[in-house]
Amino acid sequence: MAHDALIDTWKLGKRYRGSKTPALHDLSLHVAPGEVYGLLGPNGAGKSTTIRTLLNFIQPTEGSARIIGLDVVKDSVAIKRSVGYLASDMAMYPKMTGGQFLRYMGQLQGTDSTSYRTELIHRLKADPDQKLGSLSRGNRQKFAIIQAFMHKPDVLILDEPSSGLDPIMQEVFYQLLGEAKARGAATFMSSHIMSEVQKVCDRVGIIRDGELVAERTIADLVQEAAHTLEITFAGAPPLTELKRVRGVQVAAHDEHHATVRLQGPLPPLLGVLARHDVTQLEAHQLDLEELFMHFYTSGAEAGKSSLVSDERRAVNEKHHNGEEQQ
Protein backbone atom coordinates (compact mmCIF):
# COMPACT_ATOMS: atom_id res chain seq x y z
CA MET A 1 0.00 0.00 0.00
CA ALA A 2 2.78 2.36 0.95
CA HIS A 3 4.41 1.76 -2.42
CA ASP A 4 1.51 3.53 -4.18
CA ALA A 5 1.62 6.44 -1.76
CA LEU A 6 2.41 9.90 -3.06
CA ILE A 7 3.67 10.91 0.37
CA ASP A 8 5.43 8.30 2.43
CA THR A 9 7.48 8.78 5.57
CA TRP A 10 9.36 6.10 7.44
CA LYS A 11 10.46 6.66 11.03
CA LEU A 12 11.02 10.28 10.14
CA GLY A 13 12.60 12.34 12.89
CA LYS A 14 14.14 15.70 13.54
CA ARG A 15 16.21 16.81 16.47
CA TYR A 16 17.30 20.44 16.39
CA ARG A 17 20.87 21.21 17.32
CA GLY A 18 21.20 21.81 21.05
CA SER A 19 17.78 20.34 21.84
CA LYS A 20 17.52 17.40 24.22
CA THR A 21 14.20 16.17 22.90
CA PRO A 22 13.38 15.54 19.25
CA ALA A 23 10.90 17.86 17.59
CA LEU A 24 9.74 14.90 15.53
CA HIS A 25 10.26 11.22 16.19
CA ASP A 26 9.45 7.96 14.49
CA LEU A 27 6.84 9.40 12.16
CA SER A 28 5.61 6.83 9.68
CA LEU A 29 2.65 7.66 7.52
CA HIS A 30 1.52 7.59 3.94
CA VAL A 31 -0.93 9.52 1.81
CA ALA A 32 -2.43 7.80 -1.19
CA PRO A 33 -3.39 9.46 -4.50
CA GLY A 34 -6.69 11.28 -4.12
CA GLU A 35 -6.50 11.18 -0.34
CA VAL A 36 -6.63 14.17 2.00
CA TYR A 37 -4.63 13.53 5.14
CA GLY A 38 -4.94 15.87 8.08
CA LEU A 39 -2.20 16.18 10.65
CA LEU A 40 -3.59 17.49 13.90
CA GLY A 41 -1.97 18.52 17.09
CA PRO A 42 -1.48 21.40 19.46
CA ASN A 43 1.10 24.12 18.87
CA GLY A 44 4.63 22.78 19.08
CA ALA A 45 3.50 19.19 18.51
CA GLY A 46 5.61 18.78 15.38
CA LYS A 47 3.19 19.62 12.55
CA SER A 48 5.28 22.39 11.06
CA THR A 49 8.48 20.40 11.56
CA THR A 50 6.91 17.56 9.56
CA ILE A 51 5.88 19.90 6.77
CA ARG A 52 9.24 21.70 6.69
CA THR A 53 11.03 18.36 6.56
CA LEU A 54 8.85 17.15 3.69
CA LEU A 55 9.66 20.35 1.80
CA ASN A 56 13.39 20.02 2.58
CA PHE A 57 13.48 23.35 4.37
CA ILE A 58 15.05 21.41 7.22
CA GLN A 59 16.94 18.12 7.09
CA PRO A 60 15.67 15.01 8.85
CA THR A 61 18.01 13.60 11.49
CA GLU A 62 16.43 10.16 11.41
CA GLY A 63 14.36 8.06 9.02
CA SER A 64 13.36 9.12 5.53
CA ALA A 65 10.52 10.56 3.52
CA ARG A 66 9.43 10.17 -0.06
CA ILE A 67 7.13 12.22 -2.22
CA ILE A 68 6.00 10.80 -5.56
CA GLY A 69 8.48 8.01 -4.86
CA LEU A 70 11.48 10.34 -4.61
CA ASP A 71 13.61 11.12 -1.60
CA VAL A 72 12.75 14.51 -0.11
CA VAL A 73 16.40 15.39 0.48
CA LYS A 74 18.18 14.00 -2.57
CA ASP A 75 15.44 14.66 -5.12
CA SER A 76 14.01 17.81 -3.65
CA VAL A 77 14.10 19.80 -6.91
CA ALA A 78 12.37 17.09 -8.96
CA ILE A 79 9.73 16.69 -6.24
CA LYS A 80 8.90 20.37 -6.27
CA ARG A 81 7.72 20.20 -9.88
CA SER A 82 4.79 18.22 -8.50
CA VAL A 83 4.20 19.95 -5.18
CA GLY A 84 2.05 22.89 -4.20
CA TYR A 85 2.66 24.44 -0.79
CA LEU A 86 0.45 26.75 1.14
CA ALA A 87 1.29 28.20 4.56
CA SER A 88 -1.09 29.96 6.93
CA ASP A 89 0.42 33.43 6.65
CA MET A 90 2.73 32.96 3.73
CA ALA A 91 5.52 35.51 3.37
CA MET A 92 5.29 37.39 0.09
CA TYR A 93 7.00 40.43 -1.35
CA PRO A 94 5.05 43.46 -0.07
CA LYS A 95 6.15 45.74 -2.92
CA MET A 96 5.02 43.34 -5.64
CA THR A 97 1.46 43.26 -6.86
CA GLY A 98 -0.36 39.97 -6.56
CA GLY A 99 -0.10 39.52 -10.33
CA GLN A 100 3.66 40.10 -10.32
CA PHE A 101 4.10 37.64 -7.47
CA LEU A 102 2.15 34.96 -9.32
CA ARG A 103 4.13 35.59 -12.53
CA TYR A 104 7.39 35.26 -10.60
CA MET A 105 6.28 32.02 -8.96
CA GLY A 106 5.01 30.74 -12.31
CA GLN A 107 8.36 31.44 -13.97
CA LEU A 108 10.18 29.56 -11.23
CA GLN A 109 7.73 26.69 -11.47
CA GLY A 110 8.55 26.43 -15.16
CA THR A 111 5.09 25.41 -16.33
CA ASP A 112 2.71 27.44 -18.40
CA SER A 113 -0.21 27.85 -16.05
CA THR A 114 -1.48 31.23 -17.23
CA SER A 115 -5.04 30.23 -18.08
CA TYR A 116 -5.65 28.26 -14.89
CA ARG A 117 -3.99 31.04 -12.90
CA THR A 118 -6.40 33.57 -14.43
CA GLU A 119 -9.32 31.26 -13.66
CA LEU A 120 -8.22 30.99 -10.02
CA ILE A 121 -7.87 34.77 -9.75
CA HIS A 122 -11.50 35.09 -10.88
CA ARG A 123 -12.79 32.34 -8.66
CA LEU A 124 -11.10 33.70 -5.56
CA LYS A 125 -11.97 37.29 -6.53
CA ALA A 126 -8.36 38.35 -6.05
CA ASP A 127 -7.14 41.73 -7.26
CA PRO A 128 -3.85 41.15 -9.10
CA ASP A 129 -3.09 44.87 -9.44
CA GLN A 130 -2.91 45.64 -5.73
CA LYS A 131 0.44 45.62 -3.95
CA LEU A 132 0.62 42.65 -1.61
CA GLY A 133 1.77 44.88 1.24
CA SER A 134 -1.48 46.84 1.08
CA LEU A 135 -3.75 43.79 1.23
CA SER A 136 -5.48 42.35 4.26
CA ARG A 137 -4.35 38.94 5.49
CA GLY A 138 -7.33 37.23 3.91
CA ASN A 139 -6.73 38.85 0.53
CA ARG A 140 -3.04 37.95 0.66
CA GLN A 141 -4.02 34.40 1.49
CA LYS A 142 -5.93 34.24 -1.80
CA PHE A 143 -2.65 34.71 -3.68
CA ALA A 144 -1.01 32.13 -1.47
CA ILE A 145 -3.76 29.69 -2.46
CA ILE A 146 -3.43 30.53 -6.15
CA GLN A 147 0.34 30.00 -6.19
CA ALA A 148 -0.15 26.62 -4.52
CA PHE A 149 -2.82 25.39 -6.95
CA MET A 150 -1.92 27.14 -10.23
CA HIS A 151 0.33 24.40 -11.61
CA LYS A 152 -2.14 21.64 -10.72
CA PRO A 153 0.29 19.78 -8.48
CA ASP A 154 0.09 16.05 -7.74
CA VAL A 155 0.85 16.69 -4.09
CA LEU A 156 -0.48 19.51 -1.94
CA ILE A 157 1.14 20.36 1.36
CA LEU A 158 -0.97 22.79 3.31
CA ASP A 159 -0.17 24.34 6.67
CA GLU A 160 -3.27 25.84 8.32
CA PRO A 161 -4.50 26.66 4.83
CA SER A 162 -7.81 28.46 5.28
CA SER A 163 -6.88 30.76 8.13
CA GLY A 164 -7.79 34.36 7.38
CA LEU A 165 -10.31 33.46 4.66
CA ASP A 166 -13.92 34.52 4.94
CA PRO A 167 -16.54 31.73 4.80
CA ILE A 168 -17.26 32.29 1.10
CA MET A 169 -13.62 32.04 0.14
CA GLN A 170 -13.21 29.06 2.45
CA GLU A 171 -15.89 27.36 0.42
CA VAL A 172 -14.03 28.14 -2.83
CA PHE A 173 -10.87 26.78 -1.24
CA TYR A 174 -12.65 23.54 -0.30
CA GLN A 175 -13.90 23.28 -3.89
CA LEU A 176 -10.34 23.61 -5.18
CA LEU A 177 -9.25 20.96 -2.75
CA GLY A 178 -12.06 18.72 -3.98
CA GLU A 179 -11.01 19.24 -7.60
CA ALA A 180 -7.40 18.39 -6.77
CA LYS A 181 -8.60 15.27 -4.98
CA ALA A 182 -10.70 14.29 -7.98
CA ARG A 183 -7.61 14.68 -10.17
CA GLY A 184 -5.82 12.21 -7.92
CA ALA A 185 -3.68 14.66 -6.00
CA ALA A 186 -2.60 13.68 -2.52
CA THR A 187 -3.11 16.37 0.12
CA PHE A 188 -1.27 16.61 3.39
CA MET A 189 -2.58 19.34 5.63
CA SER A 190 -2.27 20.57 9.16
CA SER A 191 -5.22 22.31 10.71
CA HIS A 192 -6.68 23.41 14.00
CA ILE A 193 -10.20 23.79 12.65
CA MET A 194 -12.06 20.57 13.43
CA SER A 195 -15.02 21.37 11.21
CA GLU A 196 -12.58 21.84 8.31
CA VAL A 197 -10.84 18.58 9.10
CA GLN A 198 -14.15 16.73 9.21
CA LYS A 199 -15.22 18.35 5.97
CA VAL A 200 -12.17 17.80 3.80
CA CYS A 201 -10.00 15.04 5.29
CA ASP A 202 -10.27 11.35 4.56
CA ARG A 203 -7.86 10.39 7.28
CA VAL A 204 -6.18 12.14 10.15
CA GLY A 205 -3.06 11.61 12.19
CA ILE A 206 -2.77 13.09 15.63
CA ILE A 207 0.66 14.22 16.63
CA ARG A 208 1.77 15.04 20.14
CA ASP A 209 5.25 15.90 21.39
CA GLY A 210 6.65 15.01 17.98
CA GLU A 211 5.10 11.55 17.84
CA LEU A 212 2.12 10.21 15.95
CA VAL A 213 -0.23 9.04 18.69
CA ALA A 214 -3.24 8.14 16.60
CA GLU A 215 -4.29 7.62 13.02
CA ARG A 216 -7.91 7.28 11.98
CA THR A 217 -10.17 7.63 9.01
CA ILE A 218 -12.75 10.36 9.43
CA ALA A 219 -15.45 7.67 9.31
CA ASP A 220 -13.84 5.94 12.29
CA LEU A 221 -13.55 9.20 14.14
CA VAL A 222 -17.20 9.95 13.60
CA GLN A 223 -17.98 6.53 15.02
CA GLU A 224 -15.82 7.25 18.03
CA ALA A 225 -16.94 10.79 18.59
CA ALA A 226 -19.66 11.30 21.15
CA HIS A 227 -23.15 12.46 20.18
CA THR A 228 -24.81 14.62 22.77
CA LEU A 229 -28.54 14.10 23.12
CA GLU A 230 -30.91 16.26 25.13
CA ILE A 231 -33.91 14.12 26.05
CA THR A 232 -37.06 15.39 27.75
CA PHE A 233 -39.39 12.80 29.28
CA ALA A 234 -43.04 13.16 30.33
CA GLY A 235 -42.04 11.56 33.63
CA ALA A 236 -38.73 10.98 35.37
CA PRO A 237 -35.80 9.99 33.17
CA PRO A 238 -35.06 6.23 33.25
CA LEU A 239 -31.51 6.74 34.44
CA THR A 240 -30.75 3.14 35.34
CA GLU A 241 -31.88 1.89 31.94
CA LEU A 242 -30.02 4.63 30.14
CA LYS A 243 -26.79 3.89 31.96
CA ARG A 244 -27.06 0.25 31.00
CA VAL A 245 -26.92 1.06 27.28
CA ARG A 246 -23.43 0.48 25.85
CA GLY A 247 -21.61 3.75 25.15
CA VAL A 248 -24.08 5.91 27.03
CA GLN A 249 -23.03 8.31 29.71
CA VAL A 250 -25.56 10.48 31.49
CA ALA A 251 -23.90 13.83 31.74
CA ALA A 252 -26.69 15.65 33.57
CA HIS A 253 -30.29 15.13 34.56
CA ASP A 254 -33.20 16.69 36.43
CA GLU A 255 -36.86 15.90 37.03
CA HIS A 256 -37.87 15.42 33.36
CA HIS A 257 -34.67 15.88 31.44
CA ALA A 258 -31.42 14.01 30.78
CA THR A 259 -28.32 15.01 28.86
CA VAL A 260 -26.81 11.88 27.38
CA ARG A 261 -23.46 11.42 25.67
CA LEU A 262 -23.42 8.52 23.29
CA GLN A 263 -20.29 6.98 21.90
CA GLY A 264 -21.34 4.19 19.60
CA PRO A 265 -24.43 3.07 17.69
CA LEU A 266 -27.74 4.83 18.22
CA PRO A 267 -30.32 1.97 17.91
CA PRO A 268 -29.85 0.46 21.44
CA LEU A 269 -30.49 3.89 22.96
CA LEU A 270 -33.52 4.43 20.74
CA GLY A 271 -34.78 1.03 21.88
CA VAL A 272 -34.76 2.24 25.50
CA LEU A 273 -36.36 5.57 24.61
CA ALA A 274 -39.14 3.80 22.70
CA ARG A 275 -40.29 2.23 25.95
CA HIS A 276 -40.73 5.60 27.62
CA ASP A 277 -42.76 8.71 26.98
CA VAL A 278 -40.25 11.03 25.31
CA THR A 279 -41.64 14.53 24.68
CA GLN A 280 -38.57 16.05 23.07
CA LEU A 281 -35.31 14.78 21.60
CA GLU A 282 -32.53 17.02 20.45
CA ALA A 283 -29.19 15.81 19.02
CA HIS A 284 -26.10 18.03 19.05
CA GLN A 285 -23.22 18.11 16.57
CA LEU A 286 -20.56 15.43 16.80
CA ASP A 287 -18.00 16.46 19.36
CA LEU A 288 -14.81 15.81 17.43
CA GLU A 289 -13.07 18.55 19.34
CA GLU A 290 -13.46 16.66 22.57
CA LEU A 291 -12.22 13.49 20.95
CA PHE A 292 -9.09 15.28 19.76
CA MET A 293 -8.59 16.76 23.20
CA HIS A 294 -8.64 13.23 24.54
CA PHE A 295 -5.87 12.26 22.13
CA TYR A 296 -3.87 15.36 22.92
CA THR A 297 -4.02 14.94 26.64
CA SER A 298 -3.93 11.14 27.12
CA GLY A 299 -0.61 9.40 27.83
CA ALA A 300 1.48 9.28 24.70
CA GLU A 301 2.81 5.79 25.06
CA ALA A 302 -0.47 4.25 26.11
CA GLY A 303 -2.24 6.12 23.37
CA LYS A 304 0.25 5.24 20.71
CA SER A 305 0.19 1.53 21.43
CA SER A 306 -3.55 1.34 20.97
CA LEU A 307 -4.30 4.14 18.56
CA VAL A 308 -1.91 3.52 15.70
CA SER A 309 -3.37 0.57 13.92
CA ASP A 310 -1.67 -2.79 13.71
CA GLU A 311 -2.23 -2.73 9.97
CA ARG A 312 -0.33 0.54 9.69
CA ARG A 313 2.52 -0.88 11.77
CA ALA A 314 2.74 -3.89 9.46
CA VAL A 315 2.93 -1.57 6.46
CA ASN A 316 5.70 0.41 8.12
CA GLU A 317 7.71 -2.69 8.91
CA LYS A 318 7.26 -4.02 5.37
CA HIS A 319 8.34 -0.69 3.96
CA HIS A 320 11.31 -0.60 6.33
CA ASN A 321 12.43 -4.06 5.26
CA GLY A 322 12.19 -3.03 1.63
CA GLU A 323 14.38 0.01 2.31
CA GLU A 324 17.00 -2.12 4.02
CA GLN A 325 17.10 -4.57 1.12
CA GLN A 326 17.68 -1.70 -1.28
Binding site: Y16, Q59, V77, K80, Y104, L108
Partner: protein
Protein backbone atom coordinates in the same frame (compact mmCIF):
# COMPACT_ATOMS: atom_id res chain seq x y z
CA UNK B 1 17.80 31.26 -12.53
CA UNK B 2 17.19 34.14 -14.93
CA UNK B 3 13.82 34.79 -13.31
CA UNK B 4 15.42 35.16 -9.88
CA UNK B 5 18.06 37.54 -11.24
CA UNK B 6 15.48 39.55 -13.17
CA UNK B 7 13.06 39.90 -10.23
CA UNK B 8 15.87 40.65 -7.77
CA UNK B 9 17.07 43.47 -10.03
CA UNK B 10 13.50 44.68 -10.46
CA UNK B 11 12.94 44.74 -6.71
CA UNK B 12 16.11 46.78 -6.21
CA UNK B 13 15.73 49.08 -9.20
CA UNK B 14 15.27 52.22 -7.07
CA UNK B 15 18.16 51.29 -4.84
CA UNK B 16 20.35 50.88 -7.93
CA UNK B 17 19.22 54.25 -9.24
CA UNK B 18 19.85 56.15 -5.99
CA UNK B 19 23.17 54.47 -5.33
CA UNK B 20 24.36 55.25 -8.85
CA UNK B 21 23.13 58.80 -8.53
CA UNK B 22 24.76 59.31 -5.13
CA UNK B 23 28.15 57.90 -6.07
CA UNK B 24 28.13 59.80 -9.37
CA UNK B 25 27.35 63.07 -7.56
CA UNK B 26 30.17 62.45 -5.08
CA UNK B 27 32.62 61.70 -7.88
CA UNK B 28 31.41 64.77 -9.74
CA UNK B 29 31.89 67.06 -6.74
CA UNK B 30 35.33 65.67 -5.98
CA UNK B 31 36.57 66.09 -9.55
CA UNK B 32 34.98 69.52 -9.92
CA UNK B 33 37.42 70.81 -7.30
CA UNK B 34 40.47 69.50 -9.12
CA UNK B 35 41.21 72.62 -11.22
CA UNK B 36 41.35 74.76 -8.05
CA UNK B 37 43.49 72.18 -6.24
CA UNK B 38 45.83 71.79 -9.22
CA UNK B 39 46.57 75.51 -9.25
CA UNK B 40 47.64 75.36 -5.62
CA UNK B 41 49.36 71.97 -5.80
CA UNK B 42 52.83 73.21 -4.92
CA UNK B 43 51.65 75.11 -1.85
CA UNK B 44 49.45 72.22 -0.67
CA UNK B 45 52.22 69.69 -1.15
CA UNK B 46 54.49 71.82 1.02
CA UNK B 47 51.91 72.05 3.79
CA UNK B 48 51.32 68.32 3.73
CA UNK B 49 55.02 67.56 3.63
CA UNK B 50 55.05 67.24 7.41
CA UNK B 51 52.53 64.35 7.43
CA UNK B 52 53.83 61.08 8.81
CA UNK B 53 54.37 58.13 6.50
CA UNK B 54 51.54 56.19 8.09
CA UNK B 55 49.08 59.05 7.61
CA UNK B 56 50.10 59.36 3.99
CA UNK B 57 49.60 55.64 3.60
CA UNK B 58 46.00 55.97 4.79
CA UNK B 59 45.30 58.15 1.76
CA UNK B 60 46.92 55.73 -0.62
CA UNK B 61 50.31 57.31 -1.13
CA UNK B 62 52.50 60.35 -0.79
CA UNK B 63 51.34 62.26 -3.80
CA UNK B 64 47.98 63.98 -3.32
CA UNK B 65 47.79 66.67 -5.96
CA UNK B 66 49.28 65.27 -9.14
CA UNK B 67 46.65 63.93 -11.59
CA UNK B 68 47.26 60.36 -10.48
CA UNK B 69 47.66 61.34 -6.83
CA UNK B 70 44.40 63.30 -6.72
CA UNK B 71 42.39 60.64 -8.50
CA UNK B 72 43.84 57.94 -6.29
CA UNK B 73 43.79 59.63 -2.89
CA UNK B 74 40.44 61.41 -3.25
CA UNK B 75 38.43 58.78 -5.06
CA UNK B 76 39.74 55.43 -6.12
CA UNK B 77 41.81 54.32 -3.16
CA UNK B 78 39.36 55.00 -0.35
CA UNK B 79 36.17 57.02 -0.93
CA UNK B 80 34.63 55.11 -3.83
CA UNK B 81 35.63 51.66 -2.48
CA UNK B 82 34.21 52.63 0.92
CA UNK B 83 30.85 53.58 -0.57
CA UNK B 84 30.76 50.56 -2.85
CA UNK B 85 31.80 48.34 0.06
CA UNK B 86 28.75 49.56 1.99
CA UNK B 87 26.59 48.68 -1.01
CA UNK B 88 28.25 45.29 -1.54
CA UNK B 89 28.15 44.30 2.12
CA UNK B 90 24.53 45.40 2.35
CA UNK B 91 23.69 43.26 -0.66
CA UNK B 92 25.73 40.35 0.68
CA UNK B 93 23.78 40.32 3.91
CA UNK B 94 20.36 40.90 2.39
CA UNK B 95 20.17 38.94 -0.87
CA UNK B 96 19.69 35.67 0.97
CA UNK B 97 19.49 36.95 4.54
CA UNK B 98 16.49 39.21 4.11
CA UNK B 99 14.60 36.58 2.14
CA UNK B 100 15.28 34.09 4.90
CA UNK B 101 14.34 36.35 7.79
CA UNK B 102 11.15 37.53 6.07
CA UNK B 103 10.20 33.98 5.05
CA UNK B 104 10.12 34.59 1.28
CA UNK B 105 13.02 32.18 0.82
CA UNK B 106 10.51 29.38 1.42
CA UNK B 107 8.31 30.68 -1.38
CA UNK B 108 11.32 30.36 -3.71
CA UNK B 109 12.58 27.02 -2.44
CA UNK B 110 9.18 25.40 -2.72
CA UNK B 111 9.65 25.78 -6.49
CA UNK B 112 11.85 23.42 -8.51
CA UNK B 113 14.94 25.52 -7.88
CA UNK B 114 17.98 23.99 -6.23
CA UNK B 115 19.60 25.85 -3.39
CA UNK B 116 22.79 26.07 -5.44
CA UNK B 117 20.98 27.75 -8.34
CA UNK B 118 19.19 30.09 -6.00
CA UNK B 119 22.45 31.05 -4.33
CA UNK B 120 24.17 31.53 -7.71
CA UNK B 121 21.30 33.64 -9.04
CA UNK B 122 21.29 35.84 -5.97
CA UNK B 123 25.09 36.21 -6.08
CA UNK B 124 24.96 37.11 -9.77
CA UNK B 125 22.20 39.64 -9.16
CA UNK B 126 24.33 41.22 -6.44
CA UNK B 127 27.35 41.34 -8.72
CA UNK B 128 25.30 42.93 -11.48
CA UNK B 129 24.05 45.62 -9.07
CA UNK B 130 27.58 46.42 -7.86
CA UNK B 131 28.77 46.37 -11.47
CA UNK B 132 26.08 48.83 -12.58
CA UNK B 133 26.83 51.29 -9.77
CA UNK B 134 30.60 50.92 -10.24
CA UNK B 135 30.20 51.21 -13.99
CA UNK B 136 28.24 54.46 -13.73
CA UNK B 137 30.69 55.96 -11.23
CA UNK B 138 33.59 54.85 -13.48
CA UNK B 139 31.97 56.46 -16.47
CA UNK B 140 31.47 59.71 -14.57
CA UNK B 141 35.07 59.53 -13.34
CA UNK B 142 36.44 59.03 -16.85
CA UNK B 143 34.32 61.74 -18.48
CA UNK B 144 34.92 64.34 -15.74
CA UNK B 145 38.64 63.51 -15.55
CA UNK B 146 38.89 64.48 -19.19
CA UNK B 147 36.78 67.60 -18.65
CA UNK B 148 38.94 68.85 -15.76
CA UNK B 149 42.05 67.76 -17.62
CA UNK B 150 43.33 65.06 -15.30
CA UNK B 151 46.02 63.66 -17.49
CA UNK B 152 45.67 59.95 -16.85
CA UNK B 153 44.99 57.47 -19.67
CA UNK B 154 41.36 56.36 -19.86
CA UNK B 155 42.45 52.72 -19.89
CA UNK B 156 44.28 53.14 -16.58
CA UNK B 157 41.28 54.82 -14.93
CA UNK B 158 38.98 52.07 -16.23
CA UNK B 159 41.33 49.38 -14.95
CA UNK B 160 41.57 51.05 -11.52
CA UNK B 161 37.77 51.20 -11.36
CA UNK B 162 37.64 47.54 -12.33
CA UNK B 163 40.08 46.72 -9.52
CA UNK B 164 37.79 48.68 -7.19
CA UNK B 165 34.82 46.59 -8.40
CA UNK B 166 36.73 43.37 -7.78
CA UNK B 167 37.85 44.56 -4.33
CA UNK B 168 34.36 45.39 -3.12
CA UNK B 169 33.13 42.06 -4.46
CA UNK B 170 35.37 40.38 -1.90
CA UNK B 171 33.65 42.33 0.89
CA UNK B 172 30.22 41.52 -0.48
CA UNK B 173 31.24 37.87 -0.89
CA UNK B 174 32.38 37.74 2.75
CA UNK B 175 29.00 39.06 3.90
CA UNK B 176 27.17 36.71 1.51
CA UNK B 177 29.14 33.72 2.79
CA UNK B 178 28.46 34.53 6.43
CA UNK B 179 24.74 35.00 5.77
CA UNK B 180 24.55 31.80 3.74
CA UNK B 181 26.01 29.84 6.63
CA UNK B 182 23.13 31.09 8.77
CA UNK B 183 25.16 33.32 11.08
CA UNK B 184 22.56 36.06 10.91
CA UNK B 185 22.58 39.35 9.08
CA UNK B 186 23.85 41.52 11.90
CA UNK B 187 26.83 39.27 12.61
CA UNK B 188 27.58 39.05 8.89
CA UNK B 189 27.40 42.81 8.57
CA UNK B 190 29.69 43.41 11.54
CA UNK B 191 32.30 40.86 10.57
CA UNK B 192 32.38 42.01 6.94
CA UNK B 193 32.75 45.66 7.91
CA UNK B 194 35.56 44.84 10.33
CA UNK B 195 37.24 42.69 7.70
CA UNK B 196 36.87 45.34 5.01
CA UNK B 197 37.61 48.54 6.94
CA UNK B 198 40.03 46.80 9.30
CA UNK B 199 41.79 45.45 6.23
CA UNK B 200 42.10 48.98 4.87
CA UNK B 201 43.71 50.21 8.10
CA UNK B 202 46.02 47.21 8.49
CA UNK B 203 47.10 47.24 4.85
CA UNK B 204 47.61 51.00 4.74
CA UNK B 205 49.68 51.00 7.91
CA UNK B 206 51.66 47.88 7.13
CA UNK B 207 54.21 49.98 5.20
CA UNK B 208 55.26 51.86 8.31
CA UNK B 209 54.25 49.44 11.07
CA UNK B 210 56.41 46.41 10.45
CA UNK B 211 54.57 43.88 12.57
CA UNK B 212 51.43 44.47 10.47
CA UNK B 213 53.18 43.29 7.33
CA UNK B 214 52.34 39.60 7.73
CA UNK B 215 48.74 40.03 8.98
CA UNK B 216 47.99 42.45 6.15
CA UNK B 217 48.44 39.62 3.65
CA UNK B 218 45.09 38.09 4.58
CA UNK B 219 43.14 41.26 3.76
CA UNK B 220 42.00 41.97 0.20
CA UNK B 221 42.93 45.63 0.66
CA UNK B 222 46.58 44.61 0.76
CA UNK B 223 46.36 43.70 -2.92
CA UNK B 224 44.52 46.88 -3.91
CA UNK B 225 47.21 49.07 -5.45
CA UNK B 226 45.40 51.59 -7.55
CA UNK B 227 48.26 54.12 -7.66
CA UNK B 228 50.30 51.51 -9.57
CA UNK B 229 47.38 50.90 -11.94
CA UNK B 230 46.92 54.61 -12.61
CA UNK B 231 50.64 54.90 -13.31
CA UNK B 232 50.30 52.09 -15.83
CA UNK B 233 52.16 49.39 -13.92
CA UNK B 234 49.36 46.95 -13.39
CA UNK B 235 49.76 43.55 -11.82
CA UNK B 236 46.93 41.19 -12.76
CA UNK B 237 47.72 38.89 -9.87
CA UNK B 238 45.76 41.15 -7.50
CA UNK B 239 42.67 40.84 -9.69
CA UNK B 240 43.18 37.08 -9.75
CA UNK B 241 43.40 37.15 -5.95
CA UNK B 242 40.12 39.08 -5.70
CA UNK B 243 38.43 36.72 -8.15
CA UNK B 244 39.65 33.61 -6.33
CA UNK B 245 38.65 35.06 -2.97
CA UNK B 246 35.14 35.82 -4.25
CA UNK B 247 34.80 32.40 -5.86
CA UNK B 248 36.10 30.73 -2.70
CA UNK B 249 33.49 32.54 -0.61
CA UNK B 250 30.82 31.50 -3.12
CA UNK B 251 31.92 27.88 -2.93
CA UNK B 252 31.94 27.76 0.86
CA UNK B 253 28.57 29.56 0.90
CA UNK B 254 27.14 26.89 -1.39
CA UNK B 255 28.61 24.00 0.63
CA UNK B 256 27.11 25.44 3.76
CA UNK B 257 23.74 26.53 2.36
CA UNK B 258 22.84 23.47 0.32
CA UNK B 259 22.10 21.27 3.33
CA UNK B 260 21.48 23.57 6.22
CA UNK B 261 18.16 24.09 7.96
CA UNK B 262 16.36 27.28 7.06
CA UNK B 263 15.57 29.55 10.00
Amino acid sequence: MRAIIRWTLWQRRWSIFWWSFGVAVLVGFTLAFYPTIRDQADQLNKSLGSLSGSTEALFGGTDFFSPVGYLNSQLIYFTVPLLLAILAIGLGTSLIGREESSGTLEALLVRPVSRGRLLTAKALAGMIIVFIVTGISSLVTIVLSKLVQIDVPIGNIALACFACFMLVLTFGATAFLLTATGRGRVAALGISVVYGIGGYLVSSLSGSVHWLKEPSLIFPYHYYRTADILHGTFDWSSIVFFALFTLGCGLVAWLSFRRRDLE
